[in-house]
């Protein structure tokens, strides 16, 4: 089982390096275009057009103040003049029709709306959080189990991030929330297993560690499946019907929840076991 996980982790790293990430417009900035249409124009038409032109990573807003549509595009155009040509060619000509002309009110380059240190900040918080979680689990469940829990969490994070890269899921300020939710779910799962392991160790004082762990995992299996099932129902509904607002989140959650459950069942305790977990190492419950 370890081998498969290691392969996945390695694959994730390779994918991340190869495909890189699809950075959202929050982080990169881009071009801001204000268009005034003669007659009012629905946002959804503009959205469809942008999709047809294969422009990803845009944001579309309506400014009711002056009946304008504001498009934020992400692209590598550096100079003002080039942006205008590009815009004319790809978008404006298609939006216009003989009785509905458009006037470009302004085209400007805009900077990123989130600070550049979002990623740095996110990484620091995750690492710190993992450290504190390790300390707590160590205190409640013992050293080896704590190690197992942290390795399972790190495994989840790496594979989920790899999947984000593979499927080019947009990375923006919401990605962090998705990743945190995934780890919280996996941690929740892991602790439920651990609690049962601890209880069984207390009951069967003389049994072999392998047997106890196996027993605990089997006992909690039904609950694991049910919770997984319910979460998957919610996430799948969100994924298929939720619209673009929640799509990134639900896709990440879908992958993460599956990976997390597998890691809680097969990796967390198994690592503890292979490192030499025995009865004495599991601290007594409160």
């Amino acid at each position: 089982m370890f081998l498969i996980s290691l392969v996945f982790i390695l694959a994730s790293f390779i994918i991340i390096i190869a495909c890189s990430f699809n950075w959202g417009i929050d982080l990169t900035g881009g071009v801001k275009i204000e268009i005034k249409m003669e007659k009012s124009f629905t946002l959804s038409k503009v959205r469809k057009l942008l999709h047809r032109e294969k422009i990803k990573n845009f944001s579309l807003r309506e400014s009711k103040y002056d009946k304008r549509i504001i498009i934020h595009l992400q692209n590598k155009i550096k100079k003002h003049i080039d942006a205008q040509k590009y815009l004319n060619k790809r978008i404006l000509k298609k939006l216009e029709s003989p009785n509905n002309r458009s006037i470009v009110k302004s085209i400007e380059l805009i900077g990123p709306s989130v600070g550049k240190n979002l990623i740095q900040n996110g990484l620091t918080s995750i690492i710190l959080a993992l450290v504190f979680v390790f300390v707590y689990i160590n205190f409640r469940f013992g050293f080896y189990l704590a190690l197992g829990a942290i390795s399972s969490l790190v495994h989840d994070l790496i594979i989920t991030v790899g999947l984000i890269s593979l499927f080019q899921i947009k990375v923006d300020s919401m990605t962090f929330a998705s990743l945190m939710s995934v780890t919280s779910y996996s941690l929740n799962d892991t602790i439920v297993h651990y609690d049962r392991i601890r209880e069984n160790f207390q009951r069967n004082k003389s049994e072999d560690a392998y047997y106890v762990i196996n027993l605990s995992l089997t006992q909690t299996f039904r609950r694991t499946l049910i919770t997984l099932g319910i979460t998957l129902i919610v996430v799948t509904v969100l994924l298929f019907f939720g619209g673009p607002a929640v799509r990134n989140f639900s896709l990440t959650m879908l992958f993460g929840v599956l990976v997390g459950t597998i890691s809680s069942v097969y990796i967390a305790a198994a690592i503890a076991l292979s490192l030499g977990l025995s009865h004495n190492h599991v601290t007594a419950a409160k």
Partner: protein, 611 residues
């Protein structure tokens, strides 16, 4: 943990629960009401009847009906409109016809009915991605930056020319931010021109007829200057808004010298405008003399002296040289002194402290003036205005901690302290456009997202009821209670803003809550299988699963706490929502379901448990 009082009806507990639920539902109601577009009209002092009539006249004359309601509060008048169009029409009319002593600000304010707001029930604050907001476009005035930069270069140039033994007639800064060097001797003119051509980063315009050379920074250099000035402004504006308590803002650079600021609907957008545009900073000068009469002195005679005026228009002769300015202020706290007068306690950074200490060492017994410097926007030019707000005698050598007084009231002192703390803008900015903007994600997308969340919730409820039957119903009611309590606490919490990340957190919380209940139910089933009685099985189910739920929730809380402390503002939003959610879900999933279960199954004669 749970007392084994198996045979008493927990009626009182149920009653408490029911009351909590009803109260919760009431406080969650404001969220069902939407927001209204509003206009806030402010006057610097209280409105009197004449003002109100004037405003009414303007409004009715121009057919601006569609006003939903009008409210008065001290010195502001809030008009609510039924649509954004009518709000904007009214704004056009008001800004044209009303005199400039009124200030007008646009806003989006929630439409909570009066009886609810009497109870202090409010809707949740929504982030920019979920609700609309106010958008300001600021333009930065680069003149000061260019001038400062060129002034430094004048120093270098004159030194260089001296070394090269080139004499010039004059070096000065032109109105177009160029360094102009004029020569008497044509030979020097050519020599300088040749010498300057070696330099990068500049652009030279030479005038052979009148023998002068203009030096401008070149395009690349200009871009660098602009970029760093705007960057500094972005940081300071962000700090200011955070100090002011507005979370969840978007501040980004637009074009070469514009800044875009978006705020979710806040109560006082006039205040926000002031805070954004404020260029106020402090400068400290040493006082030479307090003048009785302005005409007694011509400041142009002595180059290093200047006349500044106090708020009472008394002229003070000060040394133009600034001892140190507001950029050295590390911290500023507004307090009330022993006589209940407002003052600001200022802490300087090390270099500022050194400057202060150096100055006061040699000037004990003399007067030092605190001057408030602002750049006021007059007809598209920024004019520097300096007002002396305080003159103090130096009692002893001061270093990095001292107080300044001379404020109108405590509110002004408090505002000043906020601005001082956040820092001075590197260039003055002016608000050139103000508008209402829709949510980043788009109204339609949000509606779809929220409806599907509910749909997913309903589906999972069906699943749970199918699986656990009656106990499933108990769990469902606990989930509903969970959501209601979560909404309540988030509405009351001052810092809590709901963003899309927050909704992600809510999905997580729901799954954790369901998980807890699944654990409990599975445990109860296990106990039943072993052969325990109904009541005992319930009790032991709750008791035995408590430790795992507790541990799981504590670890999640630890993570959330770390995220909240270390994370940036968007992460904070997620952390607050999830943190509150964990507490409410622990309460509802465990305590509430327990009480209800005991209510139903205590003293019950049935042998079967519907689970």
């Amino acid at each position: 943990m749970f007392k084994k009082t198996l045979s008493c009806y927990p009626w009182c507990k149920v009653a408490v629960l029911a009351i909590l639920l009803i109260v919760g539902a009431v406080y969650a109601l404001p969220n069902l009401y939407g927001s209204d577009p509003t206009i806030q009209i402010n006057k610097s002092i209280y409105f009197n009847k004449k003002n109100i009539d004037e405003i009414y006249l303007v409004l009715t004359k121009n057919n601006t009906n569609n006003i939903k309601s009008i409210a008065f509060k001290k010195s502001s008048m809030v008009l609510r409109f039924s649509s954004i169009d009518s709000q904007l029409r009214a704004r056009k009319v008001l800004s044209k016809k009303l005199s400039s002593k009124y200030s007008i600000a646009l806003n989006l304010i929630p439409d909570t009915p009066r009886w609810l707001s009497y109870l202090h029930a409010r809707p949740i604050k929504l982030g920019l991605d979920l609700s609309g907001g106010v958008r300001f476009l600021l333009k930065a005035n680069m003149s000061a930056i260019y001038d400062n930069f060129q002034r430094k270069n004048i120093q270098f140039l004159s030194n260089d020319l001296k070394v090269k033994k080139i004499t010039y007639k004059k070096i000065y800064l032109t109105g177009k931010h160029a360094i102009r060097t004029s020569f008497k001797n044509r030979e020097y003119y050519f020599k300088t021109k040749k010498y300057l051509s070696r330099y990068r980063g500049i652009r030279i315009v030479a005038n052979k007829k009148f023998n002068y050379i203009d030096i401008f920074p070149n395009e690349k250099k200009l871009n660098i200057l602009e970029k760093s000035a705007i960057k500094k402004n972005l940081i300071i504006l962000r700090k200011r808004m955070n100090q002011f308590g507005v979370m969840n803002i978007v501040i980004q650079r637009q074009g070469k010298n514009k800044i875009l600021v978006e705020l979710p609907g806040i109560q006082n957008s006039k205040k926000a405008k002031e805070i954004l545009g404020s260029t106020a900073t402090l400068q400290f000068h040493s006082v030479i003399a307090i003048l009785k009469n302005k005409s007694n002195f011509h400041p142009s005679i002595q180059d290093h002296l200047q006349i500044q005026y106090t708020r009472q228009h008394q002229p003070i002769l000060v040394n133009k040289n600034v001892i140190f300015d507001g950029s050295h202020i590390k911290n500023a706290i507004a307090i009330k002194d022993n006589y209940n007068l407002p003052q600001i306690n200022i802490t300087l950074d090390r270099s500022g402290g050194a400057l202060m200490s150096q100055f006061t060492k040699h000037h004990v017994g003399t007067l030092i003036a605190t001057s408030l410097v602002e750049y006021k926007d007059v007809l598209n030019k920024f004019e520097k205005s300096e007002t002396i707000i305080n003159i103090a005698r130096i009692q002893s050598r001061l270093s990095d901690n001292f107080q300044i007084t001379g404020f109108k009231n405590f509110d002004k002192a408090y505002e000043m302290s906020l601005l001082l703390r956040a820092g001075t803008l590197s260039t003055p900015v002016k608000i050139i456009k103000e508008s209402i903007i829709g949510p980043t994600l788009g109204m339609k997308n949000i509606k779809t997202g929220v409806t599907t969340c509910l749909l997913g919730l309903i589906l999972s409820v069906f699943f749970i009821i199918f699986l656990y039957k009656k106990f499933g119903l108990i769990i469902t009611s606990a989930l509903v209670g969970n959501l209601i309590f979560l909404l309540d606490i988030m509405s009351i919490f001052p810092n809590a803003t709901l963003t899309m990340s927050g909704i992600a957190g809510i999905v997580l919380i729901l799954s954790v809550a369901i998980d807890a209940n699944v654990l409990i139910n599975e445990r109860i089933k296990e106990e039943l299988l072993v052969g325990k009685g109904i009541e005992q099985a319930i009790e032991e189910g709750y008791q035995k699963s408590f430790s795992s739920i507790f541990d799981a929730n504590v670890t999640t809380l630890i993570k959330i706490l770390i995220l909240y402390t270390v994370g940036s503002s968007s992460i904070k939003g997620f952390a607050i929502t999830t943190g509150i959610g964990i507490i409410t879900s622990t309460f509802t999933s465990i305590v509430c379901t327990h009480i209800i279960a005991r209510l139903i199954y205590s003293h019950s004669r049935s042998q079967k448990l519907s689970i």
